[in-house]
Symmetry: C2
Subunit: 249 residues, 2 copies
């Protein structure tokens, strides 16, 4: 009999590796905790029906009251093969995995609130100036059938690559400079100068690395080549620290 | 011979207790660490000359290149009475005090970066919608001579109390609701449900409580009465936890 496995839902694209940062945040944890899992690929137009079909909880509600289904979603049959756990929302999945599989912890004791705010900051503030650069590029990487659905709810202006690319990258760099200053607080005796919480990888690092992976997969030459050199190579070092968690099963 | 004492510079006002949140952040640490200190009161118009006179480092630089001197500032003669340490900037002071006086730590190991971002968030994002309500009220509490200097560099529109007070308070409440959700992550086995890092007070709590003290001192009836009831009384509980650190020496 085969071993029960966690299923992680992700979207396929026409580049060899997945890139969606919120989904990578979960995959990094699955790899870090060495949990058995496989990725189930579902195209954007099929996400809602697929998730509805497996009983995934909606992640939000539209103005008209209809539920919104979005990735990441996991199905975990390991502890209860008859009634697998089905979860959506990267943060909730992260907390579930930590409680259910506490070995190789990603939330050191007492750090959940601080990490939750840190991850919120990475998603909503650090990553914000990346959107005008990365969203159009990400869109181009999708299978044709998925392209229309990718931006549902977004303004179509998000599809045009900004003319002032250098200015857009400077806004990104300002955010990374600020974060580097914050992360420098943990150097010296209190840290290795690379990870967010001193010496061991935690959820906070996976939030940053997910953004780096997004840039590396979708904008390797224009984007990752820049970022890996910023702040004394800090982001390249963090990437190397997380590399063993970047397999795609 | 008298014991050498740290001096904390603060601004006097016409209410019995100081209220400036950035200065309280330092005072809470001094009290928490039970360090001997006294407050030196300096009116706004005298801040620059006083700080320049004691050799305090400027905290920023104006567009025209002139240095900006701002509080909090501490002078610490304890370890080196002949050449006291003079420091400005609440975060730098906090880090200095932790390294120099490590007993009763406010930064648990590996938490500096996460706490730094948390405190930044409290100052720049959580407290932002409080400004239109609190800045005019704070101004009114100052001695007459200080009033003109208080807002140097600010737009005079900051002085008018917003007409839509209820709307302004709703914007504040949204921020507190969000933060309460974040802090709830630490409840259960991983925390006491009150403090930011599980069970012990840390710098993150002092950042929140400094804002609460500001509201309590300057807007006790209109402001603190509201906030202490929000989120199941969480902010009142946090206040009680920090009360023993609220002496003014």
């Amino acid at each position: 009999m085969s071993q029960p496995m966690i299923i992680l839902y992700d979207v396929p694209s026409n580049i060899p590796q997945p890139w969606a940062p919120n989904i990578w945040r979960v995959r990094l944890i699955l790899n870090f905790k060495r949990l058995p899992y496989r990725t189930a690929w579902v195209e954007f137009p099929d996400v809602e029906e697929t998730l509805h079909g497996i009983g995934a909880p909606p992640t939000s509600v539209k103005n008209d009251g209809r539920p919104v289904f979005s990735l990441p979603v996991i199905v975990d049959p390991i502890r209860s093969p008859q009634v697998p756990i089905v979860l959506s929302n990267a943060n909730l999945i992260a907390e579930y995995l930590e409680v259910t599989y506490p070995a190789r912890q990603v939330f050191p004791e007492g750090s959940r609130a601080l990490q939750a705010l840190f991850v919120h900051y990475i998603q909503e503030i650090l990553a914000k100036p990346l959107l005008p650069i990365m969203v159009p590029l990400s869109h181009q990487r999708l299978p044709e059938r998925s392209q229309n659905h990718f931006l549902s709810g977004m303004n179509s202006s998000h599809l045009s690559v900004p003319l002032e690319r250098e200015q857009a990258w400077r806004a990104v760099q300002e955010q990374f400079d600020f974060l580097a200053n914050i992360l420098d607080k943990n150097s010296g005796a209190d840290g290795d100068g690379v990870v967010a919480m001193g010496h061991e990888l935690t959820y906070a690092d996976f939030a940053i690395v997910s953004v780096l992976i997004w840039v590396e997969k979708v904008a390797p030459h224009d984007g990752w080549v820049r970022i890996r050199q910023w702040n004394g190579g800090r982001w390249g070092k963090l990437w190397e620290r997380c590399k063993s968690c970047m397999d795609v099963f």
